[in-house]
Every structure is written in structure tokens, then in C-alpha cells.
């Protein structure tokens, strides 16, 4: 008699089929969020605010009440939802361009106000849906369709270290950066996502997780090579770790 040790999370819609490209880590991230929602038993009490970019399709996969925000405004809409329904668990699922470029003001101010929200931000160092342009987290030297000879300081300036910035906001209860490059790190990522929900549920403040993720299509790499890039190029600059956790320090 065999026992099931892995199953598709119940908080995903029935027979869900992702529309992400082959090998894209978005699929893993959405599954982890669903697993956390299952474990916390909050599917019927949660509201998702989806953002613009590949992340917008999340509402087609997660079986929770969902609202779509204009580009960059997910945390403003989430603030509105939470203030209107303080007993609901409200979370955003955003890309780095949405969270840290066009929506940086909304993101920082939600953290500064200490909104009881959870924000999940996928950092894949590019604008994926529009075809791989330079974004706020594009690494120095990285070639994109709008940095054809690589990101240089003269024209583009520096990439932003999101988790560190959010940790500096006094209203932040939890800020972490995790990676999906390996199974071990995927398991750590899930723990961080869970913590970011728990600080909201306990009313402690803003919970944030930045997830280092791949975009094999626009990086023009195999999914496997893409994970090597996360390890060798992204993680030395965007160091995984817990940057703030008011429940332990």
C-alpha cells in the first residue's frame, strides 16, 4: 500500500494547465503559493491581486477570488481590498518590473504603512511577456533586447536589490529573498512564502518574498542552463536570505 507524498495542491483550479513557457519557474512559484494556501487553510478567505506581465495569468490557476491590477498598482489595489475587508488574507503576485519599477512607490508605501498584506515578487531580471527588455533588476553586463551590448552604468545605472529595500521599511514584518534554482532552495522558498502569509494573518505587518526565477525563453537558454545562471550570476549579486523577520529579531 503506497501513500501519496506529493499531489497537485487543492487551491489550484481543476485540471489547471499553465500558460507559461517550458521550464519557466513561474509554474513552481504559483504551485508553492497554492501549497501554502492549502497548508494554512485559507483558500476560502483569501483575495489575490494579480499584476501585469506573465504574472497576470495567476488568477487563471489559483482558485481564489482575484482582482487584476493595472501595471504597477497591485499593492495599491491590495491596500484597498484589505482596508475594505480587514479579515481577509490579501496577497499580490507580481514581477520585478511591476513591483520594483513602475510600482515602486506603491510597493514601498504599502510596506511603510505596514499594510497587512503579503507580496510575492518574481525576479527574473527581465520583462518577460513583452519579449525580454531591460528591467529594474537586469544585471550589469546582461544583454537584453533594450541593452543590446549589455547593461552598462552610463546608460542604465544599477539594478535594484528589492528584498533589502523592503526590509528597510519600518512597516515590514518579513522580507526575504529565495531562489528556485534547486529543489533544496525550492523547499526553502516555500517556508519563506509561508512566513510572509503568517505575518499578515497574525497582523504583524507587511510580508514580502522576492523569488529569483528564470526566463529561459528570453534568456535564450535551456531551462537547466537558466538555473545555472541563477546560481552563478544572480545569487552572488541578489544574495538569498532573510533580510527582516520581526518574529525572531
Amino acid at each position: 500500500m503506497a501513500t501519496q507524498v506529493f499531489k497537485i495542491p487543492e487551491s489550484l483550479r481543476d485540471n489547471v494547465k499553465y500558460s507559461f513557457c517550458p521550464g519557466c519557474d513561474h509554474g513552481v512559484a504559483v504551485r508553492l503559493v497554492a501549497e501554502v494556501i492549502d497548508e494554512l487553510g485559507i483558500r476560502e478567505n483569501s483575495i489575490l491581486v494579480a499584476s501585469i506581465g506573465c504574472s497576470v495569468t495567476t488568477y487563471d490557476f489559483l482558485n481564489v477570488d482575484s482582482l487584476e491590477a493595472p501595471h504597477g498598482r497591485a499593492l495599491a489595489e491590495a491596500t484597498g481590498v484589505k482596508r475594505a475587508q480587514p479579515d481577509k488574507v490579501v496577497f499580490t503576485y507580481q514581477g520585478d518590473g511591476d513591483f520594483a519599477s513602475i510600482g515602486l512607490a506603491e510597493s514601498m508605501h504599502s510596506a511603510l504603512r505596514g499594510e497587512k498584506l503579503t507580496a510575492i515578487c518574481i525576479n527574473n531580471t527581465t520583462y518577460g511577456m513583452t519579449g525580454g527588455q531591460l528591467g529594474p533588476t537586469t544585471l550589469l553586463g546582461q544583454v537584453t533586447t533594450t541593452s543590446p551590448t549589455g547593461r552598462n552604468l552610463e546608460y542604465y545605472g544599477y539594478p535594484i536589490k528589492i528584498a533589502e529595500h523592503i526590509a528597510l521599511c519600518d512597516g515590514t514584518a518579513f522580507s526575504a529573498r529565495v531562489s528556485l534554482d534547486s529543489v533544496a532552495n525550492i523547499r526553502k522558498a516555500k517556508q519563506a512564502i509561508k512566513k510572509a502569509f503568517e505575518v499578515q494573518i497574525h497582523g504583524l505587518g507587511f510580508g514580502f518574498v522576492e523569488i529569483l526565477s528564470t526566463c529561459p525563453t528570453n534568456w535564450k537558454m535551456t531551462p537547466d542552463k537558466a538555473h545555472t545562471r541563477v546560481r552563478e550570476e544572480m545569487m552572488p549579486i541578489f544574495k538569498p536570505g532573510i533580510y527582516k523577520d520581526i518574529t525572531i529579531n
Binding site: 483550479r13 482558485n63 498598482r73 484597498g80 506603491e106
Partner: protein
């Protein structure tokens, strides 16, 4: 700051009247960013909403404010923001999304001079902004234009009602004059029925699949179906909700058309012109969308001329011309910005026509 009292006449500013009416209408959430000449609305709300344990957020920008309203209304509650001209410009994206999401957003727009930063004098320069929209795509906002402080109260109640009845963003289009002037006004209990939002609001997917409020329609056919449905709704709104005031129009040779605070002097001018024996009528659209096109077309069969009076470079005059459709001339009396032309000035300009 005035006391919120119902069933009692008080002397108060338009901005306070609007804010107080919103509270009485059951507005649960206010989100805003300061801008003259409407800052009193946010000031009043910051105290009152906290006192009543309702939601208030000093938003980081108008972009954030309108999106907070979208978030709050997506859960079915009454919520609003208020702003003015160059800052309402920042909200156009959110208003476009809110129409596509079919959410009952209420925006109080207190017009000031433009374009650009312009100035803080009264203006009607955002007639186009409100009725034609600056957001992308095919959509309409319901637009209500008060002309007195009392009407600021009446139409604030109505804005919440229509927004929820039709699940469409609704604008109360006032101006710096109405916002800042004091008049006696009477508050009363919210006179409209509460709308049941339980079929669509996001309240957590208890015992059901998750609902999605979205505007993203990847397939062209789906978008066509949605737009047809949206514009069928606008047709219903035009049939049911078009509102205007008209005086002495039956026998009028000249019909003066004006909205908002400007219409007050126009009404006086009409009376003065009547005293002089001229057959002049007065027509005031109260809803700017839906615009009283049909009624103006009917009047164009008997009137010889229409004259619109506006504090802008001529905006509503275009809609009057479309309604009249060449049946008779439509002239414009206007000034760019500031206090409306006086009744005497309007009289002499009509006489000079």
C-alpha cells in the same frame, strides 16, 4: 470643520457638503491625495472616517488612490476618492480599468484651471476629461454636474447609487467655485435602495470557485462580446438616467445651455432677457453622461438658436451641436477660466448676437 447633522440646515462649503454626504451615503473607504481646491474633502474624511472606524488612507499618489478605490469596490463596498483636474489626469488609467472591471468607483472631481498646473480658479475645462475620458479604449463614465451646494449633497448620494446600480465609475463634476463657496444646505438620510453586490463581489471563495475581476481578454471575440454588453448598459443608462432642468423653453427663440456653477448666472440672465421681452429659455444638463441629446434635438425643432455658456474654451458646445445636428445655429459664450461671466455680461452678449 462642520458637524455632520442630518435633517438640519447648516451653512457649509461645497467640499464639506460633498464629504459629509459621502459619509451619510455609507461610504466605507476614502482614499485621497491633497490638491487645491478640494483638499477639504480629504481633511474632513481623515477625521470622520477614523471616528466612525471606517477606512481612510493618505495615498502616496493619485495613481495609488484610484487603484485603492478599485480594490475596495471590488469587494462590494462603497468607496471613493476626490481630486482635481491635473491630478484627475493621473487617474485616467484607473478609470479605464474600473469601467472594464465594472466596478462602482466614485470620483469627486473639483475642476480648476488648466492645462498643465494651470491655477486654482474655478473652471469647466475638464468637461472633456470627464465625459470623453482620457483613459484607453471604449468606455463611458456616468457624470453628474451639481450647480449648488445643496445639489452637491443630492448628487453625491446619487453618484453612489448609480455607480452601484450600473457597476460603472461615476464622477461628481464640481468646480473650485462650488467647492469653496458656502451655502445653506440640508442633509438627509441616504434616499436610495442598497444594491445587492453578493453575486460578483470578491469576498473570499467560500464554498465556491474563485471569482476573477479582470479586464484582460486575450481573444478578440471575447472583447467584442464584452464591449457590446458594456455599450448595451450605456444605452440603458441613457434611457433611464438622463437628467436636466429646463425653464421657459416651450416658446423660446434662444435656448441658453449651461451646466454646473456657471448655469446660475445663465438662469438669472434668462430672466433678465425675458423681462426685456426676448423669448429666451434655459436648459441645464444635470447628467453630462448620459447627455440630454434627445431633448435638445426636440427643442431644436422650435428654437431658432442655441447658446452655450461655459468657463472653458468651448467643450459642451460640441455635444449641443451634435444634438441639434445642424437644425439651427449653436453659439458659444465663454471665458477660459475663473468666476463665471456675470448675468449682466451674458445679457449684453446675447443682445449683441
Amino acid at each position: 470643520m462642520p458637524e455632520c447633522l442630518t435633517n438640519k440646515k447648516v451653512l457649509t462649503k461645497g467640499n464639506y457638503a460633498i464629504a459629509n454626504a459621502a459619509v451619510l451615503a455609507g461610504c466605507q473607504c476614502y482614499f485621497g491625495y491633497p490638491i487645491t481646491p478640494q483638499s477639504e474633502i480629504g481633511e474632513f474624511m481623515s477625521g470622520k472616517m477614523q471616528e466612525l472606524k471606517r477606512a481612510y488612507v493618505s495615498a502616496e499618489s493619485e495613481l495609488a488612490a484610484i487603484n485603492m478605490v478599485i480594490g475596495a469596490t471590488s469587494t462590494g463596498v462603497k468607496a471613493m476618492t476626490s481630486s482635481s483636474s491635473c491630478a484627475v489626469a493621473l487617474m485616467q488609467e484607473g478609470l479605464s480599468y474600473a469601467t472594464a472591471d465594472e466596478l462602482p468607483v466614485v470620483l469627486v472631481s473639483v475642476m480648476r484651471g488648466g492645462p498643465g498646473l494651470g491655477n486654482i480658479y474655478p473652471s469647466q475645462g475638464d468637461y472633456f476629461q470627464a465625459t470623453k475620458g482620457g483613459g484607453n479604449g471604449d468606455y463611458k463614465l456616468i457624470v453628474l454636474a451639481p450647480s449648488t451646494v445643496q445639489e452637491c449633497v443630492d448628487l453625491t448620494y446619487k453618484a453612489f447609487y448609480l455607480a452601484h446600480k450600473y457597476k460603472n465609475p461615476t464622477v461628481l463634476l464640481a468646480d473650485g467655485l462650488l467647492g469653496q463657496m458656502m451655502e445653506p444646505v440640508e442633509f438627509y438620510d441616504y434616499p436610495y435602495p442598497e444594491i445587492d453586490n453578493s453575486k460578483w463581489a470578491l469576498t473570499g471563495a467560500k464554498g465556491r470557485d474563485g471569482r476573477i475581476i479582470r479586464s484582460y481578454a486575450p481573444l478578440a471575440d471575447n472583447q467584442c462580446v464584452f464591449l457590446e454588453k458594456l455599450f448595451q448598459k450605456y444605452k440603458t443608462i441613457e434611457e433611464n438616467e438622463t437628467e436636466w432642468e429646463e425653464i421657459n423653453t416651450e416658446d423660446a427663440d434662444i435656448v441658453l445651455v449651461s451646466f454646473g456653477s456657471t448655469s446660475r448666472n445663465v438662469k438669472t440672465a434668462m430672466k433678465l432677457l425675458r423681462e426685456k421681452g426676448l423669448k429666451v429659455g434655459f436648459f441645464r444638463p444635470i447628467t453630462l453622461f448620459p447627455f440630454p441629446t434627445k431633448r435638445l434635438a426636440e427643442l431644436s425643432k422650435t428654437a431658432k438658436k442655441f447658446v452655450t455658456v461655459e468657463v472653458n474654451m468651448g467643450q459642451m458646445v460640441n455635444d449641443v451641436r451634435l444634438a441639434v445636428n445642424g437644425a439651427c445655429p449653436v453659439e458659444l459664450i465663454n471665458k477660459g477660466v475663473g468666476a463665471p461671466p456675470s448675468a449682466q455680461e451674458i445679457v449684453s452678449r446675447i443682445e449683441a448676437l
